[in-house]
Symmetry: C2
Subunit: 499 residues, 2 copies
């Protein structure tokens, strides 16, 4: 087609505004149609657009609509406005400079696309599980960690020193497996504190327990594979495995932890997720016998065990129990620990201790899924652990939390027998067990109404039915705040428990 430079006036253009796009503003429809005409050559390079007045008359649209549409075309470089020469179609084969800046922050044209219609099937499942996780989180426990006491000055010094001492190399792309010094510090820490047996090569740094679970779901499970969870249990783990497309099975929990006798009913399961040190939410500890039974089951079935050791750093009474991982002789246990609960939630550093055979595939998957964690905080944390500052901080917070737990337990015990205090020797929350006829969901709602954030135990059961009680956190509350909360909670508890 010969180029018609400066065509004196363009003929009227056919611009049928599509009734099926009545959901789009008229100026957008006009913009789109003019753009199509430019791209198809109907309006060739150098052609002059009809004046706004002419177009408004021809198309029976307002001047404003025309001006907005042409303004968008100019902003996008499809046309140029020349004083005295009108609006000229630009050379779109070559690059056209942007003629105007877009205005204030604004979305592009609001899309009318329904996301449901265009997400993939697995995307829909992933998004739905993420929503459910947020819901569980919202109606669940309030903040458990006291960040007020975090030594931010010390931490800043450690960060600055890491940058200074490690030099520019620490700014370079991180090893997807994680900073080696940090992996060494972690393997030493978990050996001493948790009886975990590992080398630094078995440690994979991740952003969070959630990321560890996500990688596990993607690497070890196919859609339809069976996963066993504790009931009641940790909602986020459940959602992670559901997002992976797993079929879920459940083990009940009693005072010795997950009832491993029931493992025999699940021969086909590929993975068991447990919280042996401090069962979430009941707080009990898995007995050694059951630990061994779980390991034996995993060995015989070639299944995996995921040990989520989410807050065992905070043990107040009794002797620390070695991690399940420490007595695994068959390489079947994946151990998860996190700094996001011990230090501060925004830290985003956790770790996965892998059987040797799984290290390579997990590192490859981490590399492809996000490339690794932030390098400077990793270097800083390694130094924080090595220098003993981490252990000192743990001791300080453990003493603090122990005092808070005592205050809470004392108040709850005064309410016996209506309230029985669950296991409370570890962690940052405990369960106040209630009679089976108490509506704990209504009670939690009433408590929220009185400004006390608690969660109903029954909501942590897979089927919704189960023991009744309230989950109470004490990590972030001073003893005085605990007294005040209990003053508000006590009448509600008494009323709910009275026959």
């Amino acid at each position: 087609m010969p180029r018609t430079r400066r065509a004196a006036t363009a003929p009227p253009i056919a611009l049928p505004l599509a009734p099926e796009r009545a959901d789009l503003p008229l100026y957008v429809q006009l913009y789109q149609q003019l753009r199509e005409h430019i791209l198809s050559g109907v309006l060739p390079e150098g052609a002059t657009l009809p004046s706004a007045r002419t177009m408004a008359a021809d198309l029976r649209l307002s001047r404003n609509t025309i001006d907005t549409a042409v303004g968008l075309l100019a902003a996008d470089g499809f046309v140029q406005r020349r004083v005295g020469a009108g609006t000229i179609v630009a050379d779109t084969e070559r690059l056209s400079p942007r003629s105007t800046r877009p205005g204030r922050n604004e979305p592009g044209v609001a899309t009318t696309v329904s996301p449901e219609a265009r997400l993939s099937r697995r995307g829909l499942r992933l998004a739905a599980c993420g929503d459910a996780e947020r819901e569980a989180d919202r109606r669940g426990l309030p903040t458990t960690v006291d960040v007020l006491g975090f030594p931010t000055m010390e931490w800043n010094r450690v960060l600055a020193r890491a940058l200074r001492e490690r030099g520019p190399r620490v700014l370079q792309s991180a090893d997807p497996q994680g900073d080696r010094a940090l992996r060494r510090a972690i393997s030493e820490h978990v050996r001493l504190a948790r009886g975990v047996r590992c080398t630094p090569e078995q440690v994979l740094i991740v952003n969070s327990t959630q990321q560890a679970l996500d990688l596990i779901g993607r690497l070890l499970l196919d859609s339809g594979d069976r996963v066993l969870l504790e009931d009641p249990g940790y909602p986020s783990a459940r959602m992670a495995f559901e997002a992976a497309g797993a079929t879920l099975g459940f083990l009940p929990v009693d005072r010795f932890g997950a009832v491993t006798d029931r493992l025999a009913e699940h021969e086909d399961a590929r993975l068991l997720y447990v919280t042996p040190s401090h069962q979430f939410p009941l707080g009990v500890t898995l007995s050694l016998k059951r630990r061994a039974a779980a390991l034996e089951w995993a060995r015989a079935r070639e299944a995996w065990i995921v040990e989520d050791d989410y807050d065992s750093e905070f043990r107040y009474d009794g002797q620390s129990i070695a991690a399940l991982q420490g007595i695994d002789r068959d390489g079947r246990v994946l151990y998860i620990g996190t700094f996001n609960k011990v230090l501060f939630p925004g830290m985003r550093l956790a770790y996965l201790i892998l059987p040797p055979a799984l290290v390579e595939p997990f590192v490859s998957a981490r590399r492809l899924s996000d490339g690794g964690s932030s390098s400077v905080p990793q270097a800083a944390l390694a130094a924080f652990i090595r220098s003993g500052q981490f252990a000192a901080y743990l001791r300080r917070t453990r003493a603090l939390y122990s005092e808070r737990r005592d205050a809470l337990v004392a108040r709850l015990e005064a309410l016996a027998p209506a309230v029985r205090v669950g296991a409370s020797d570890t962690g940052l929350h405990l369960v106040a067990l209630l009679d089976a006829d108490v509506d704990d969901t209504a009670l939690a709602a009433a408590a929220a109404g009185s400004g006390v954030g608690v969660a109903a135990l029954s909501t942590y059961y897979a089927g919704g039915a189960g023991q009744r009680g309230l989950l109470l956190t004490f990590g972030a509350a001073t003893p005085a705040a605990i007294e005040a909360s209990m003053d508000a909670l006590e009448p509600l508890l008494r009323r709910a428990s009275s026959p």
Copy 2:
């Protein structure tokens, strides 16, 4: 079974060491069998184990093997050694304290499980793609970013100030979508610098481009869905979509970028991945006409376009071209930008600018997949951008890189016509195009032998066939280092190109 407390001596135990586990050390087999006997009640609580000497004789094993196995049992809490009373089976129903500390860092018993046998199908694919990505990375471009000039002191001050000014709240769990102040700063930056139209609500902070691609693959693609990529193209994107199970199709690239005329051949494709500002690896810019054609295709087919704007901050000549996202009126473009190339690779902060309809599902998926990025660096980066330090740093590095590019281009142009310099007005690398009969892979290997890290252009083509050339990075090399590299490279280039 009645409990036989302190049975004077236990009868000989049947411990058939399994020949099929000949891959396991004898002490492990013995440990496992004793453990099974304890758990099954054959060796009940309180029973005394036969002495090591007796067991060694009965089982025809060395004392050393017996001692190691019993030592493991004791370490794991299954037995207790009592002076004068021998080795007693512990109460495994109750919790047993760990009686000994594990030794130095050591893996548990080395597993003989083959990971291939136990990864899921999708896990195998994910790990294989991660491996391929590492391979591509290893034989690919050397470091492109100069971290030596990064203002670490300034950055430390910004980090410390963010902690001080934001207070303890910044330590709390981050919004999975990302720090609001950072999202606001990014939406402002991309509007001014890239012509991107968005509100802060459309910005999702991610750790890296890789994480953006991973989320896109999971949310928008099902296994078997068709994805279109540029050929030659970015290997990590290809691997991310392959890991998502996508079927790949390819668009050739000429001097105006990806040849969008070929889109018509791929009606069934759900997604197109492009690098419009600075095609990777060829360096060309997608023409406005083709941008519009891609948008029109996406609108008509209800497909998605992923715009990876990986290093467009570094434009040296000509006017900046607005992002494809900026002229999308239909909400079909997902725009990816990253700070890991502009600031430092270990930073792990990038962003995805989403069509409004996709924001919610992406945030839900991010929440479930790792919960969000580290909070303090996000707050610091927001302040770094707002204060103008980011823009100042960009200006400084742009001037630095421009000088380096000039040095490299001058040397290469002196080698014409054997070498033609590809587009070099943007970014941190350029392509030295060579004749079609040059073996660029051999040339890259020879260069590596001379200490010069370059990548062969032909390896970026999907089929392996394509233009020949070398990718050269100049971001991290001083002009003097560039001269030295070119002194080494020049004879190799001359030899390879001589007929």
